[in-house]
């Protein structure tokens, strides 16, 4: 649950969503992100840290440039929450449809008597 709190909080910032958008197209180094977003290196680094601790991105430990890449598992958790919500919501609507359907086919009490 803490993880989901952090993921949603991280996504509440437009620059951080922009970084996620960028990384969906492939890995990028901090310098590449600095160039693309026209922000200072410390600003980008602090956004990267928030995204990393929310489990939405990881940084490669292999390469010296340590490129950032999307961590699909983090986004899967956010997506799963929304999917479950939508399923509940649709079930509720389906139930409402059933009630309306029942109202349609059931005769009025007066008609039953006659």
């Amino acid at each position: 649950m803490e993880h989901l709190n952090q993921a949603f909080a991280a996504l509440a910032d437009p620059t951080r969503r922009g970084i996620i958008d960028r990384l969906a197209q492939g890995e990028a180094t901090v310098s590449e992100l600095v160039d693309q977003f026209d922000l200072t290196q410390p600003t980008i680094s602090s956004h990267i840290k928030v995204l990393e601790s929310a489990g939405l991105i990881t940084r490669s430990r292999r390469a010296q440039k340590r490129p950032c890449k999307l961590e699909p598992d983090g986004l899967t958790a956010v997506n799963a929450w929304l999917e479950r919500l939508r399923a509940n919501w649709e079930r509720n609507f389906a139930r409402l449809d059933d009630v309306l359907e029942d109202l349609k086919v059931q005769p009025f009490p007066e008609e039953q008597k006659s």
Copy 2:
């Protein structure tokens, strides 16, 4: 974009996600939410205000009890952002698959010569 910022920020709190979950099953009054979440009325009211200003819920103006209900449009925006991200991500993977496929079918330079 401001709307999306507010929606993600609103969803970063577990009680607010709980309220959204509850409302996916149908309308609820503030008193009903107070009972369910075992929190004070001012606490629930303040969460309701955050969700309302983020466009995730609305309150009926008709009934005197002003029940809260889910506003699907607010969640649709969040969902659309994630869907677009997933499409980009999958396209990127598909492109990677194409590259790997190309590597597979193309003969090595040595073989071409022979």
